[in-house]
Amino acid sequence: VSRIWDPAAPVDVLIVGGGPAGLAAATELRRLGVGKVLVTDREAELGGIPRHSWHTGYGIRDLHRCMTGPAYARRLVESVRKAGAELRAATTVTSLEPASASGHLPSAEHLASAEHVPMGERVTLGEHMPSSEHLRASEHAPLDGHVAELTSARGRERVLARAVLIATGCRERPRSARLIPGDRPTGVMTTGELQQRVYLNGERLPGRAVVVGAEHVGFSAAVTLAHAGAEVVALVTEQPRHQSYAAFRIGAAIRWHLPVWTSAVVSRITGRGKLDGVEITDTRSGVARFVECGTLVFTADWIPDHELARAAGLDIDPGTRGPAVDTTLRTSAPGIFAAGNVIHAAETADIAALSGRHAATHIAAYLADQASSSPASSAATAHAATRPAHTRPIATTDTRSVQADEPTDITGPAETRPAGTDATLAIHTEAPLSWISPNLIRLPVTSTTTPSGTDSALDTAPPSPPDIAPPLGRFTLRSNEFRTPARLEVRQDGRRLAVSRPMRLIPGRPVHLHARWLANADPTGGPIRVSVAASRSRTGA
């Protein structure tokens, strides 16, 4: 049985960004039976960054295969097509606001030309909530969901979405944002621009090139440069050593003869019109020298593409600079989720895809929750917590969430959080840790609240509910410094919730913290703090 979507009907899920996270989420949502899933991407082709990243190593953790970026991107797109989601490339989401604020319904005239995508034989949400009924519900104010404005060659369209996934990815900081002084010649770019020039435009880059950064992406850029005919002079990093995996580095070093200059920074760019070279300063000695080159590539130093998230008024995490998300990848706005490198810039594509898949599970649960609420309760559901349907139901319908990330909330919060409500706790990192993702936890407040600040919580805390585990059951962190060995310590109100096994902290490389400690957190307590534990010798413990 196949049927044509009613183009005027709201979509169940709008996914902004057709990279690995967004595409994986779309496939998973359809697999879970969600009816209408629309994926938009502002680029002419879907697939995200892997489209123009031609080295291999994609798909290992999500597809259990190893392939090149473009092959991986094609495969993700193909999966979404088979799953029956609607894909819209060359389409920019130019605004996003709550339907209740907007008061707009999608214009039928605008949507009349929308692509009609046949849908496969699947149980859809539409069967639980016929579209006519939903539309009738939509006439009540305030409306549930969010209205997105889409801009494309078709014109401007407004789409009402019951849930939204922001999967807008990340970008590298350009030279200007890094405040590198000097001239402004051509030939200075980021890896993103480099890859598009070389792999999408087929441009050649003869001459000497310098790469800034020695994370994986720095080696990737060097390989791209070599493909384009450039002679890579060096990878320059201010770190005392490179940050890539040994196998990748050694392979690249042998194949392409790539020296890595450590403890060094590009301190000046020279060239009027086109790049002549760079001044490179040794951070230990302060000695500077001029290195001639015609191409300079700035790699890594990622920043989430959080502009839509900020424009939509979502809370931004000060560490990741992406939207703050709890372990279900819900943002501060009901019905808006975020996944992929916009919440952890940057992890590998397969991790982004798994993040999208994780979000899909919780979006499906959120929609099921919403569907079970009557239209009359739409005002109340605007504040509804997201809760996966497969978990035990929360006893009461009062699902007001309580923000507890302000230190002032620590005193006397118990009265304000009656049993049956959820408490949201922020997770803060302390130097040298720079961020953690997810960065909020949302815990059900049980009937017996535990006084915070005592170890007794350890004994009375409920077992970790499976529904609030983060993607892959772990938190991802970053460190600004090399630390080996280091133990991560999780504390709440001075009480230690967990300590990790010893691990290596490497700037630009992920650090993982298992989420088992969630069970020990006190929903009525203060924010969670994650730090690097003091070494044994110093504490004398």
Binding site: S176, P181, T186, E203, R204, G273, E307
Partner: protein
């Protein structure tokens, strides 16, 4: 009309905001004019790298020519901008006192403004100041409000002037550097020698299959080979021919016809049937070779900005020397725009107006400038100390700036001289006008300067016959500001829905419009200044490859009309 004449009535040296304003003013009369620019586009020197403020002139030195022309020019430009679609926002300015000493200086500043004829200044007590600008850093003691201060697009302004001038028949010679001037027999006509042609092509990014440079630009209809080849003049110091501000696009120099807006179907195509380009030796000379040539004109106007002292010397002047004063600036992300409403000015010192924070018409926040005397009139590099001093100042004025991303950093050179006022004079005997030392107020004063200079020229004997059919209308420029609707918000046709530059939301249609405009860009940075493409927070991470592809395809296709 004497368009075909081999002697121009007026040659204007320099197509910055002042030179184009003069050209646009002269274009209202029946004159044969040529506008000569060493860079590959108009408005690429001081005109493009400044604080982008349309000053009222409240803080000028009373009684100076600058004060008069600033007030007049500011009023003229305000009207012109609204007619031409140049983005302007009347944000007003707050001149903030941070110390008791600065607070006591405010009444004198207000009195000075009154002497300049600017009466609208109002004192703002600290409490009201923080009401208006709640994100202002702590410690402000009070302010003056200057309601007329505005922000303006510094790129569209000279482009609009030049578009009007070229439409009216003025010939624009780009990539043409004046190297010497001689008076011919009888002293009635100046002969200007120049070098022309594109700079060394960048070539670092060359798409396979793209045509290689075929040689120097062909003189289009070159017919007046006059005079002997000139040796390079005083401006032709080794390496100085490079225009510091003109960042060449990948492949942009590959099209030999790109000089002078090839393919724009202008009847007035610069050298066409008029210029006297001389091609030394083989026409297939190396593309690095610059062609020498000369042209003749009855009057010469020196609006050469940073090079105006050298040009002045060609006419025997020695009254001033340009002392480039570098100003570094930082542009913050659009997400910082809600942090302020007005331009936030410091209390000026004798030396500089100081570091300000201002919104831009593109929706960003600008911080700067520094003030540093440099020797090299081409040195528009930024420095580590300059940028860090700006950040420190910016974080005091608006502490929340520290959390916002930097989108761009750049530096511009003010064409200052040893004198405190403009260096404008007309030498009737030699039929020469010098318009120099415009410092940092050229954008605001440009139309006032042009009006004044043309008036002085008329008094000195330049005939200004009315243009048959009257002046051409003020052009309607593509609006690239944030205060009005952007093309993507209207999507008049499909190509205005295809967003190419995501950060600035520039569509394919706008880039196509730029490529087919009266003054098409000659490199991708010209596309930037006409459309804002690639000017955003990612600085090309997403769109640079696509924009340069569109630029190249457009050029390769001979620019469809």
């Amino acid at each position: 009309m004497n368009r075909m004449a081999d002697v121009a009535d007026v040659a204007i040296v320099g197509a910055g905001v002042v030179g184009t304003a003069i050209a646009r003013t002269l274009a209202r009369y029946s004159l044969d004019c040529v506008l000569i620019e060493s860079a590959s586009d108009v408005g690429t020197g001081t005109s493009k790298a400044n604080t982008a403020i349309l000053h009222t002139g409240f803080d000028a030195k009373p009684g100076t020519l600058e004060s008069t022309l600033l007030a007049r020019g500011s009023a003229l430009l305000r009207d012109y901008a609204s007619a031409a679609g140049i983005p302007v926002e009347r944000t007003g300015a707050l001149l903030v006192a941070w110390t008791a000493e600065q607070l006591t200086a405010l009444p004198a500043i207000a009195a000075n403004a009154a002497r300049n004829g600017y009466q609208a200044i109002r004192p703002v007590p600290a409490e009201a100041l923080y009401e208006r600008e709640p994100r202002l850093g702590p410690g402000a003691l009070g302010a003056l409000e200057i309601p007329g201060e505005s922000i303006i697009c510094p790129w569209t302004t000279p482009l609009a002037f030049a578009t009007e001038a070229v439409t009216a028949g003025i010939r624009l010679l780009l990539n043409t550097k004046v190297t010497g001037a001689t008076a011919d027999a009888g002293g009635e006509v100046h002969e200007l020698t120049f070098t022309t042609g594109p700079e060394q092509p960048p070539g670092s990014l060359r798409a396979p299959g793209m045509p290689q440079a075929q040689g120097p630009p062909q003189a289009q209809g070159s017919s007046h080979a006059t005079g002997p080849l000139m040796t390079p003049g005083p401006l032709q110091a080794p390496g100085s021919a490079e225009d510091p501000g003109s960042l060449q696009a990948p492949g942009s120099a590959e099209d030999p016809g790109s000089l002078q807006g090839q393919g724009s179907a202008q009847e007035q195509s610069p050298a066409q049937a008029w210029g006297s380009l001389q091609v030394p030796g083989s026409a297939q000379a190396q593309d690095s070779a610059r062609t020498r040539g000369s042209l003749r004109a009855r009057w010469v106007i020196n609006a050469a900005g940073l090079g105006s002292d050298s040009v002045d010397a060609m006419f025997g002047g020695d009254g001033f020397s340009i002392r480039p004063r570098r100003g570094e600036l930082i542009v913050f992300d659009k997400l910082a725009r809600p942090l302020l409403r007005s331009i936030l000015l410091p209390v000026p010192t004798a030396r500089t107006k100081g570091v300000l924070v201002a919104p831009t018409v593109y929706g960003n926040v600008l911080l700067g400038p520094t003030a540093e005397d440099v020797d090299d009139p081409g040195d528009v590099s930024t420095t580590a100390t300059g940028l860090s001093s700006l950040l420190a100042a910016g974080h005091r004025i608006l502490p929340d700036l520290a959390d916002e991303e930097v989108t761009a950093t750049y530096a511009g050179l003010r064409a200052a001289t040893e004198h405190p006022d403009y260096q404008i004079y007309v030498d009737a005997k030699r039929r020469y006008a010098c318009v120099a030392g415009i410092r940092s107020t050229g954008l605001s004063a440009s139309l006032g300067i042009a009006e004044y200079v043309v008036g002085e020229l008329a008094e000195a004997g330049l005939r200004l016959p009315p243009r048959p059919g009257g002046p051409v209308p003020i052009p309607e420029m593509p609006y690239i500001g944030e205060a009005g609707p952007r093309p993507y918000q209207r999507v008049a046709s499909p190509q205005y829905g295809e967003i190419v530059c995501h950060c600035e939301r520039v569509t394919r249609g706008e880039i196509a419009d730029a490529m087919t405009s009266v003054l098409p860009p000659t490199d991708v940075n010209g596309v930037r200044r006409r459309s804002r493409a690639m000017n955003g927070r990612c600085q090309g991470f997403y769109c640079a490859a696509a924009v340069s592809r569109l630029f190249r395809e457009s050029q390769a296709n001979g620019i469809p009309s």
